[in-house]
């Protein structure tokens, strides 16, 4: 690898809890980092206090409010913004991007393109309407060397210097190597993979199950029920994931099972928290209003509800959560439904 690559700063776009944690992590290999903060006042405030999302910033991080600076100074950029703002961010960043840029994103959600007419049986939502973040990057810019980070990476724990691992997936070995070189240290392990879409889908779909796990926790249903949900949830993830173009392998690795276990057992997960609060009887609007950052799982449940219908994939867990969120079902009813999870063949995707 060329040494010039390392002498340039690395860009991080988005100063939420995960973006901040990644920025700090990057500095550990003596790397200079430029952290982009969209909001101008917030950007000034962070630059002064040197604290972002409750985490102390390393001295090697400089703060910017200019995407142009990120594009021009950095050849490697980590975009970590919520999926709802991702396309807009890319459209603004795109004029400053060239084909030599490498983008490794850490956003676990879908981009949804709404058609003119609302979705219905005659006008079904298809894969063409939903994009993973790597697809958004390629659509909106001339960048081709794209990768994603996926795995059990609760931001709080990374910030607290607890050991963890992640998967960097990309069709380009070069991207995986760059990611490894930049992020790897003695308590952060990096695996590489080629199935970019599979890794992205794993990260996205597990959020659904995390909401469900939070609900079970909130209802106090116990560990057996949680394990039941997680393992049936994995099967559901795989069926949906396959319909959307991912391979099974990614789901069985760190990006799938790994992330699933971490998020389904931790109140550090926003999606888990949403489920828990639903179980405690809070309304969806109130929960969202009370959160500082986006719980991607909520939007994903709506999207999968539509897609499952179009592709005729049975998604019992997703359906149940969809109904609870949209007030068609009480949490208690959902509990009964849980006990009616289909008991055909338990594992039917390995033949």
């Amino acid at each position: 690898m060329s040494s010039k690559n390392t002498s340039r700063p690395v860009g991080v776009v988005g100063a939420g809890s995960f973006g901040t944690a990644i920025a700090n992590l990057l500095t550990e290999n003596s790397q200079r980092v430029i952290l982009y903060v969209r909001d101008q006042t917030k950007s000034k405030q962070i630059a002064e206090t040197r604290v972002s999302a409750g985490q102390k910033l390393s001295d090697r991080i400089s703060i910017t409010n200019s995407l142009q600076e990120i594009g021009e100074e950095c050849h490697v950029i980590f975009p970590v913004v919520p999926s709802a703002n991702f396309r807009e961010m890319m459209q603004n960043l795109s004029p400053h991007l060239r084909p030599y840029h490498i983008l490794i994103h850490g956003t676990k959600g879908f981009d949804l393109r709404l058609p003119d007419k609302p979705f219905s049986g005659r006008n079904p939502m298809t894969r063409a309407h939903v994009r993973t973040m790597s697809e958004v990057i390629k659509e909106e810019s001339s960048v081709v060397r794209v990768g994603c980070m996926a795995g059990p990476n609760l931001a709080r724990e990374i910030a607290d210097h607890k050991p963890a691992a992640t998967v960097i997936a990309s069709q380009f070995n070069e991207v995986v190597e760059v990611g490894q070189r930049l992020l790897k240290n003695d308590r952060f392990l990096i695996y590489g993979g080629n199935d970019l879409i599979g890794a992205e889908l794993s990260g996205i779909l597990k959020n659904i199950i995390a909401v469900g796990a939070g609900m079970i926790h909130g209802l106090g249903l116990g560990e057996n029920a949680r394990a039941l949900l997680i393992s049936r949830g994995l099967v559901e993830m795989i069926h949906v994931g396959r319909a959307l173009g991912g391979n099974i392998q990614a789901f069985l690795g760190l990006a799938g099972v790994g992330d699933l276990i971490a998020t389904c057992g931790s109140s550090l997960s926003r999606n888990f928290t949403v489920g828990q609060k639903l179980a405690e009887g809070m309304k969806m609007e109130a929960i969202i209003a009370g959160m500082e950052e986006v719980a991607e799982g909520v939007k994903t449940i709506d999207i999968i509800h539509e897609l499952a219908r179009s592709y005729k994939v049975r998604c019992v867990i997703n359906e149940m959560l969809y109904k609870v969120i949209h007030d068609d079902l009480t949490v208690a009813d959902a509990q009964h439904l849980l006990m009616k999870l289909p008991f055909r063949q338990e594992v039917d995707f390995l033949e």
Partner: protein
């Protein structure tokens, strides 16, 4: 129908400036360069030389026994036996001597391959072949179309009356002046390479080099044309890494020397009649490698990829091709050409039939792209999806320098090949003959939802009739949709498609597979009758890939 006749000047009137002429003048030097480069590449590939030599000798000796051709040199077996014994004798040598010997043998083999591959373009031959094709066929055409003996000398009909060249013709001429053009046509018929050869000279472009199957050189008359049109030889029987590496380097270095090239990226003729979906990545990869190496050596010249779509109402080989497709044994290890072209005589009859009977052909020249599939403007500048300029060089940079990364380039070839397939669909010119075939076949499938493909093809005669009115309704729906996506720039249509539905249906029925022994589709007593489901399937396949079935 009268069309304004366009004539194109030669963009490089002085043939001594043609890259291909320069290349053939320096043939010996070029062969050496290719051999050296291939040797170097093979050494850096990392596979042990010994292993590659042994595999190659083994495979070559099998080839000579199992599948000998007329064009094979007389000393073929002797040469390989020799290599074999020399390899065996190394047992008595020291490790250093062995290594030196192995390298020497490797170089000998590479040089032999390069000599075999290298084309021998001769200007005088070229001039003759060109005149022969344009003049000769134009005469034949007039003789049969315009009645009377004197018509043999009439100028009423030229080859370009029969062949419509549409699309970005001025654009490709500009690009050929700016850089090196790689033309990538679809491949349906053995006629394609001669047709494209004619198109190239008609557009005033210098001759292109292209890889022609060595089997075609078995036929004397074809060999003559091939040699004179800048062909180099590709032997599909030889699949050993040494041969493939040499072939790739030949193509790559010729591109770097500025020789415009013609690749049939589908590899062989489309067996199913469908537009190619899976392109052969090897040759396309040489364009990407050549471009990167040119950037590394600070040569600023660019390589432009120009997709070309050829459309026929009628493909002579269709019955044989589709049969082969249906039998499909898959593997093409020792690929043998279907026998319809095995002799000069058969070839001649085919050409005669083709050129004397009226069946239109259209050749659509697509828009130029850089090696990553970005469109280029007339100046050769790459543009991104939003029309902003981008520097192709940046794709090969990591950090601040141009680097070589074969895995990266492998991905780039896939991106490029996907783009070419997309462009094929955009520039594909829908003929009514394709659409009548598509409509009829899809109606059969609709009617027999429980049958698989083979079941449909085996339907009995009474099930092979469709009521004309019903057919017309379906055809109209599909045509409307095609005209709609044509407006959106997703496909091209022939002019006759825009006429009234009944007229375009008749045009389609008259032309679809018109010279086959059994025409696939006829209209009789207000019924559409399917006479040959196999060729119907073949012509129908041409319209696959547009998701038309939804609109039936």
């Amino acid at each position: 129908m009268t069309r304004k006749k366009v004539r194109y000047d030669e963009i490089l009137p002085n043939k001594d400036q043609w890259p291909i002429v320069k290349l053939s003048q320096n043939r010996v030097g070029f062969i050496k360069k290719v051999a050296d480069e291939s040797f170097h590449q093979l050494l850096t590939n990392g596979t042990p030389i010994r292993e590659e030599l042994e595999t190659t000798v083994y495979k070559e000796r099998i080839r000579i026994k199992a599948n000998p051709w007329k064009v094979d040199p007389a000393d073929d077996l002797r040469f390989w036996n020799n290599i074999k014994s020399e390899l065996a004798e190394t047992a008595q040598l020291t490790p250093e001597e062995t290594q030196a010997k192995e390298r020497e043998l490797m170089q000998t083999i590479i040089l032999r391959y390069t000599e075999e591959i290298a084309g021998s373009f001769k200007q005088s031959y070229y001039r003759f072949a060109r005149t022969f094709i344009t003049f000769g066929f134009a005469r034949l055409l007039n003789a049969t179309r315009v009645k009377g003996f004197l018509s043999l000398f009439s100028r009423q009909l030229d080859l370009d009356d029969k062949i419509q060249i549409v699309g970005q013709t001025e654009h490709i001429r500009k690009l050929a002046k700016k850089g090196t053009v790689v033309m990538v046509p679809t491949h349906f018929s053995n006629l394609d390479s001669i047709l494209i050869g004619w198109v190239i000279q008609f557009l005033g472009l210098p001759a292109f080099i292209y890889g022609a199957g060595l089997n075609l050189f078995n036929i004397k008359i074809l060999a003559y044309f091939m040699n004179s049109l800048g062909a180099y030889k590709v032997d599909r029987r030889k699949r050993n890494p040494i041969y493939l590496e040499t072939l790739k380097n030949y193509s790559k270095l010729a591109l770097m020397e500025g020789a415009h090239s013609l690749f049939f990226p589908g590899g062989t003729r489309s067996r199913s009649g469908e537009i190619e979906k899976n392109l052969k990545l090897g040759l396309l990869g040489t364009a990407i490698e050549a471009q990167r190496e040119m950037y590394q050596t600070n040569a600023d010249r660019k390589i432009f990829i120009v997709p070309v779509v050829i459309n026929y109402h009628f493909v002579l080989e269709a019955p044989a091709l589709i049969k082969e497709y249906l039998k499909k044994t898959g593997q093409e290890r020792f690929y043998q050409e279907a026998d319809e072209f095995s002799t000069s005589y058969k070839m001649g009859t085919f050409m005669l039939k083709f050129f004397t009977k009226g069946s239109d052909i259209s050749v659509s020249i697509g828009r130029g792209m850089d090696v990553l599939g970005n469109y280029v403007d007339d100046e050769g500048n790459s543009l991104d999806a939003k029309g902003n300029p981008i520097d192709t060089r940046d794709y090969f940079r990591s950090g601040d320098e141009i680097t070589e990364d074969s895995q990266r380039e492998h991905e780039y070839v896939r991106i490029l090949s996907k783009r070419i397939v997309e462009e094929y669909h955009k520039f594909n010119r829908v003929f009514a003959s394709h659409l009548v075939a598509y409509t009829a076949f899809k109606m059969l499938q609709r009617r027999n939802p429980t049958l698989d493909l083979y079941g449909i093809l085996r339907l009995s005669d009474e099930d092979l009739e469709i009521d004309y009115e019903e057919f017309k309704e379906a055809y109209k729906k599909l045509r409307d949709h095609i005209l709609k996506i044509h407006k959106e720039g997703k496909v091209d249509v022939a002019n006759h498609m825009k006429k009234r539905a009944t007229i375009s249906i008749l045009h389609g029925l008259e032309n679809v597979g018109m010279y086959h022994a059994r025409r696939p589709l006829i209209l009789k007593n207000n019924k559409i009758i399917i006479q040959d489901p196999n060729t119907l399937f073949y012509y129908h396949n041409r319209m696959e890939g547009y998701e038309l079935e939804k609109y039936l």
